[in-house]
């Protein structure tokens, strides 16, 4: 890790806030804690935060309001904590531009993995281009991807369910169309680690995704295999905000 990254945790439950803070500190982050939206606004100008962990169920001003306000201030990545089953909150949050969500009761390690993935994505792209506004719809080759709902729709309008891994892979591919992505790059983007010599996870995920996209595995036209070990999404990608 290049420098200590600073995370702001906004949660109204004192114990969760403190324990999560200690947990993240142990993982090498710098942490600030806010009990509600007001405190978060007060802390906002005092530090340079790399990421916000935001509980949507806040007393007073809701987490969604705070997320909207934060988006007005900057592109700081936001990971939401949502109550399971509160579909609409989650969707609104993602449409507002939150980067990811973890349902409560969350598994701390799962949350940590999501935080790292979001930071990686934000950091990796940050130098090259400003973060794009979140797309509501992403269209490619007749297919439609709806990030807030993690939903893929085929050219006839039928929803085609994806596993978590398939979705993540497709998401990485549509963000970088017509660019060769080696297995190592994909492993790094998806799991934050290098592909080992026996690591077939990426190939399995690609072949499953091809099947869902009706892309003939022997003669793929959408997700092409590149000689020397890599893949490329051969399609024009249109983003609708």
């Amino acid at each position: 890790m290049e420098q200590t990254q600073h995370i702001l945790i906004v949660d109204d439950d004192r114990e969760i806030r403190d324990l999560l803070g200690r947990f993240l500190e142990r993982q090498g982050f710098r942490v600030s804690l806010a009990r509600d939206a007001r405190e978060a606004r007060r802390l906002w100008p005092l530090g340079h935060y790399h990421l916000i962990v935001l509980d949507l169920m806040l007393p007073g001003e809701t987490g969604l309001d705070l997320a909207r306000w934060l988006r007005g201030q900057s592109n700081v990545p936001i990971v939401m904590l949502t109550a399971m089953g509160e579909e609409t909150d989650r969707i609104v949050g993602l449409e507002l531009g939150a980067d990811d969500y973890v349902p409560k009761p969350f598994n701390p390690r799962e949350l940590l993995a999501r935080i790292r993935a979001v930071l990686r994505r934000a950091g990796g792209e940050g130098g090259e281009r400003a973060r794009e506004p979140p797309a509501r719809l992403i269209r490619f080759a007749g297919w439609t991807l709806e990030p807030a709902r993690r939903r893929l729709t085929d050219p006839q309008g039928a929803e085609v369910p994806l596993t978590g891994g398939e979705y993540e892979l497709l998401n990485v591919l549509v963000e970088r169309p017509n660019r060769v992505l080696t297995r190592d790059m994909l492993m790094d983007l998806l799991h934050g680690r290098q592909a080992g010599p026996f690591d077939r996870a990426i190939d399995v995920a690609v072949s499953r995704l091809r099947r869902k996209l009706e892309d003939d595995g022997r003669n793929p036209s959408l997700i092409k295999t590149v000689r020397g070990g890599g893949y490329v999404l051969a399609a024009t990608v249109e983003r609708v905000s």
Binding site: A83, A158, E214
Partner: protein
């Protein structure tokens, strides 16, 4: 029906009688008329007049030198004489009375010979045309029409009478499946309306009772999430690796129970829109996610069926239903095989198969009840709430489909899902 048949018979017999009497009246009137004509006409005019006479069926008249009634013929039975009022002929005013009257039977005909004053005989042959009520064309048509009409009437009446009872039975059946079934209409005859009202009141009480309980379940489950989250975080600070792993496993189990209870209490599917969905992709997704989460090895799951199959469904809910069935197959049967079989008529069958011990025949239905688990699953170290099948069935029925369990002849269990196309 019996009443109808009896009614028709009475009607037919009545008709026979009427017909006979009417015929007899006409015959006797005409016979009397002819006698009077013969009596009053000059003797040379009698024969032409008789030939011109237009006689009704069953009556023949001839003018002869001899009587047609010869000695030795059996006398006609009194009821025939009465029927044709032969005595009226004989007992008229003296002026019209024949000099002689002979009666006798020849075959089915009654012969009446009347002697004119000048000695000639007017011979009348009266034959009763056997009334054939069942053969008359109009009668047959009328009979058929009446039968159809009567049957229609009877059906209509019985349906009308039994409809409220049937509606009540259907409503009770619906309530058994779905406490939120719409209420019965409280109209119609007073007794029916009262019964419907009583039923609706009862359904309302049951509904409130169920709602209270599910709300309580939802509240408890909801409130458990904060302590579970805290405990998870605390477990991360436990130094003892083994202890920490055990705590996390317990917490994972608790969370699964909380999630299942919430899913059951909330009926999430109710608010989710119905959209076209690729069922084949959904089946493969559920199986692959079981593999990805480590619940199963890749070789333990398989899919057989069409590459793509679009149905109309609520994706999140249907996925949960299938995931519950797959989870059971893996947990209790070691493997999960999904087959999709589109049926003629658009219905889709989806079967989740395993190679486990199956379920005793008498428990194949009861395991669908909430919190119902079989003895050996309770004793085994398999966490579970007993809500999986109840949730799956709720969801599938809300889709207009269903799920049932069957033991496979070769061993193992099949969960058979049906979905409307």
């Amino acid at each position: 029906m019996l009443v109808q048949a009896a009614g028709l018979t009475i009607h037919a017999l009545d008709r026979v009688d009427l017909q006979r009497i009417a015929q007899a009246r006409e015959v006797s009137a005409r016979a009397f008329g002819i006698w009077r004509t013969m009596l009053l006409a000059p003797p040379d005019r009698r024969r032409p007049l008789l030939e011109e006479a237009d006689l009704p069926p069953g009556l023949a008249a001839t003018l002869d030198r001899e009587p047609a009634v010869v000695p030795g013929l059996p006398p006609p039975p009194p009821h025939l004489l009465r029927l044709f009022r032969v005595e009226a002929l004989m007992g008229g005013p003296p002026r019209f009375r024949p000099r002689d009257t002979l009666t006798g039977m020849r075959g089915d005909r009654m012969l009446v010979s009347l002697r004119l004053p000048d000695g000639d005989w007017l011979n009348l042959a009266i034959r009763l045309t056997p009334p054939r009520p069942w053969h008359s064309e109009t009668f047959l048509a009328a009979f058929a029409l009446m039968t159809v009409a009567a049957m229609g009437l009877i059906l209509w009446a019985t349906r009308r009478l039994t409809r409220p009872v049937r509606q009540l039975a259907e409503a009770a059946d619906r309530l058994g499946r779905d406490v939120n079934a719409p209420p019965l209409p409280e109209d119609g005859p007073r007794e029916v309306a009262t019964a419907a009202h009583a039923f609706n009141t009862m359904a309302g009480r049951i509904r409130r009772f169920v709602q209270d309980r599910t709300q309580m379940l939802a509240a408890i489950s909801h409130d458990l999430r904060t302590p579970i989250t805290r405990m998870r975080l605390r477990a991360e600070f436990v130094e003892d690796e083994e202890l920490r792993a055990k705590m996390l496993a317990d917490l994972a189990e608790m969370e699964a129970m909380v999630n299942a209870s919430l899913a059951f209490a909330r009926e999430e599917s109710a608010s989710e829109p119905t959209v076209p969905l690729d069922l084949a992709a959904l089946a493969r997704t559920v199986l692959d996610e079981a593999v990805d989460s480590g619940e199963a090895g890749a070789e333990a799951v398989s899919y057989a069926g069409p590459e793509r199959l679009t149905v109309r469904a609520r994706p999140v809910a249907l996925k949960r239903a299938l995931a519950n069935l797959v989870q059971n197959a893996l947990r209790y049967g070691g493997v999960a095989r999904i087959r999709i079989e589109p049926q003629p008529g658009g219905v889709v069958r989806l079967i989740v198969e395993d190679d486990g011990p199956g379920i005793p025949a008498e428990a194949l239905e009861t395991v669908f009840q909430p919190f119902r688990r079989l003895e050996d699953s309770r004793n085994r170290e398999t966490g579970g709430t007993g809500l999986g099948l109840a949730i799956a069935r709720n969801i599938l029925r809300a889709h207009g489909g269903d799920v049932a369990l069957e033991n496979r002849p070769g061993g193992g269990l099949s969960a058979v899902v049906t979905l409307p196309g």
